[in-house]
């Protein structure tokens, strides 16, 4: 082992051989030292740049109108001199000129630079060490993946739009073509019933009535599915809606079906912001629900009113029906979840799903409280119409 005092290391060789991009500047931004790695990265030679102003050596790319390398770099250096503290720059585009022998054209480069002062005994800045990292490859990769992503998104959007258009045509075909034979089934059974007249055997009449009911049932199911898909697709046009008019309109329309039921509207109903056609659908389904699930020995009763609540209006529909089983609470607003096992229990199972979707698409929400066996109160919260 060698002993004795250590020889002073060759700092020049250490600096120039350092594995990183280093440059030493004077406080007036002249280059006085550079690492070999720096020279390689900037395609320069030591003898060509030493002693020169850094911005003479590395001017902005004149073909890039957005070039701001010189400005940002100078600002950072000035800050370091002024404050005597290091300054880290963000990722900076700063194009580098090829040597004149190679045509002298600018090549795109991105850097992550940091500038640190070396202070003298008087606490003044003696030198600035400029350290940079070439991140061009990283930026290029990122940019390419963004471009690819955008392309992919554009392609998928196109596909999606085609699918939506297809679905629209599909549901229209369902409505048109599927409903036609149902109308025929209903119509022919009806005609047969009329032709047979009062002389018909009761079981024949019953069978024909069953055919009619089944056809009407499927027709409603088709209509509900269509309504649901249309709700999901169409953009609502929210305007001030007079709930009183909507609700009384629905009640009048239902007059036939409501025969056995008592419906009470607790006027006045507050106006809301919504889409009238959708609100009308919501009220119809809620009312339908309210009077449908009632024990046979009880007269169905429904009550409709509104409550003002801090910027929103709560539209309530209460009934005296069987109520919601606590186990069903989570499923009740899902499409096609029929909660009443009874085969004869009416309802396509999509009504409440339509109400929920419509409410949400009108920036509202739905909910209910229920006392099994005693009744339920369903509500929709909607934006209050501006006064």
């Amino acid at each position: 082992m060698a002993t004795g005092p250590l020889k002073e290391p060759d700092f020049r060789a250490l600096f120039e051989g350092a594995p990183g991009l280093y440059l030493v500047l004077t406080p007036d931004f002249r280059i006085i030292a550079a690492s070999d790695a720096y020279l390689r990265a900037t395609m320069t030679k030591r003898e060509d740049i030493l002693g020169r102003d850094i911005f003479d050596v590395f001017p902005d790319n004149p073909t890039d109108p957005g070039a701001n390398g010189v400005r940002n770099f100078r600002r950072s250096l000035e800050k370091v001199v002024r404050r005597g503290r290091p300054d880290t720059m963000g990722v900076q585009k700063y194009d580098i000129r090829r040597p004149a022998a190679e045509g002298g054209a600018f090549v795109e480069r991105y850097w992550r630079p940091a500038n640190s002062p070396v202070l003298g005994p008087d606490r003044k800045v003696r030198f600035i060490i400029h350290r940079a990292e070439d991140v061009s490859e990283l930026v290029r990769l990122k940019r390419r993946s963004v471009e690819e992503l955008e392309k992919e998104i554009a392609e998928r959007t196109k596909k999606l739009q085609a699918t939506v258009a297809y679905l629209e045509a599909f549901s229209h075909t369902i409505a048109h073509d599927l409903r036609a034979p149902l109308r025929a089934l209903e119509g022919y059974s009806r005609i047969l019933l009329d032709r047979l007249g009062p002389a018909a055997a009761p079981d024949t009449v019953d069978l024909l009535q069953r055919i009619r009911r089944a056809a009407l049932w499927m027709d409603r199911l088709t209509q509900d599915v269509l309504d649901y898909s249309r709700l999901a697709r169409e953009e609502p046009n929210l305007t001030e809606v007079d709930l009183e008019r909507v609700v009384s309109g629905v009640v009048e329309n239902y007059a036939g079906a409501l025969e056995r039921a008592r419906v009470r509207i607790r006027a006045p109903l507050l106006p809301v912001r919504g889409q009238e056609t959708w609100l009308s659908q919501c009220v119809a389904h809620l009312l339908d629900n309210a009077i449908k699930f009632v024990p046979k020995d009880r007269t169905p009763e429904a009550e409709i009113w509104t409550e003002a609540r801090d910027g929103t209006v709560r539209l309530c529909v209460a009934d005296n029906g069987v109520g919601v089983d606590p186990d069903s609470r989570e499923y009740i607003f899902l499409p096609f979840e029929r909660l009443h096992a009874d085969r004869n229990s009416p309802g396509t199972g999509i009504g409440l799903a339509i109400v929920k979707l419509a409410a949400e698409r009108m920036r509202g929400r739905v909910g209910f409280d229920s006392e099994p066996g005693r009744g339920s109160r369903f509500w929709i919260d909607l934006e209050a119409a501006p006064r």
Binding site: H172, G187, Y188, I191, L216
Partner: protein, 147 residues
């Protein structure tokens, strides 16, 4: 006023629907004769007295036209457009459709349809609808000079 011998022309491609419409017209007690054609092109031929429809005693000029929306060869809108561009342009025309895509109703009104009706699901409702159509268009409504 309704002209003497008012009649109705209905164009519908669905055979069942034509049968049920005929039945509904009968049940509604409509006295005006109803002629049926099975597509839009036949409707145009009928109205222009072309093809086999030249005999106006057998195929009278209708006072009211009811068109299905979706039909082969020429759909309801195309027939409506043809009528409005022809010398029969004032002829009252109704669309009776099983379904409507967003914008269908507006397109029909842009072509000056007189009413846009949805096909009801039951024969009972269809009968009610035909009775109303008859009462309004061949009863209360003031009839224009068509040609």
């Amino acid at each position: 006023m309704i002209p003497e011998g008012a009649s109705i022309l209905i164009a519908d491609d669905n055979e069942d629907d034509r049968f049920l419409l005929t039945e509904a017209v009968r049940l509604a007690g409509i006295s005006a004769p109803v002629r049926l054609v099975e597509d839009g092109r036949k409707a145009v031929e009928y109205l222009s007295g072309a093809g086999g429809y030249s005999d106006r005693t057998q195929f009278p000029m209708p006072s009211l036209v009811i068109l299905d929306y979706k039909m082969p060869l020429k759909n309801g809108l195309e027939v409506l457009g043809w009528i409005r561009a022809s010398e029969l342009k004032r002829l009252p025309v109704l669309i009776l459709s099983a379904s409507s895509l967003p914008g269908d109703v507006e397109r029909a009104y842009d072509l000056h349809v007189n009413a846009y009706l949805m096909k009801p699901s039951s024969l009972e409702d269809l009968t009610r609808l035909m009775r109303a159509v008859d009462a309004f268009w061949l009863g209360f409504n003031e009839y224009p000079r068509v040609s």
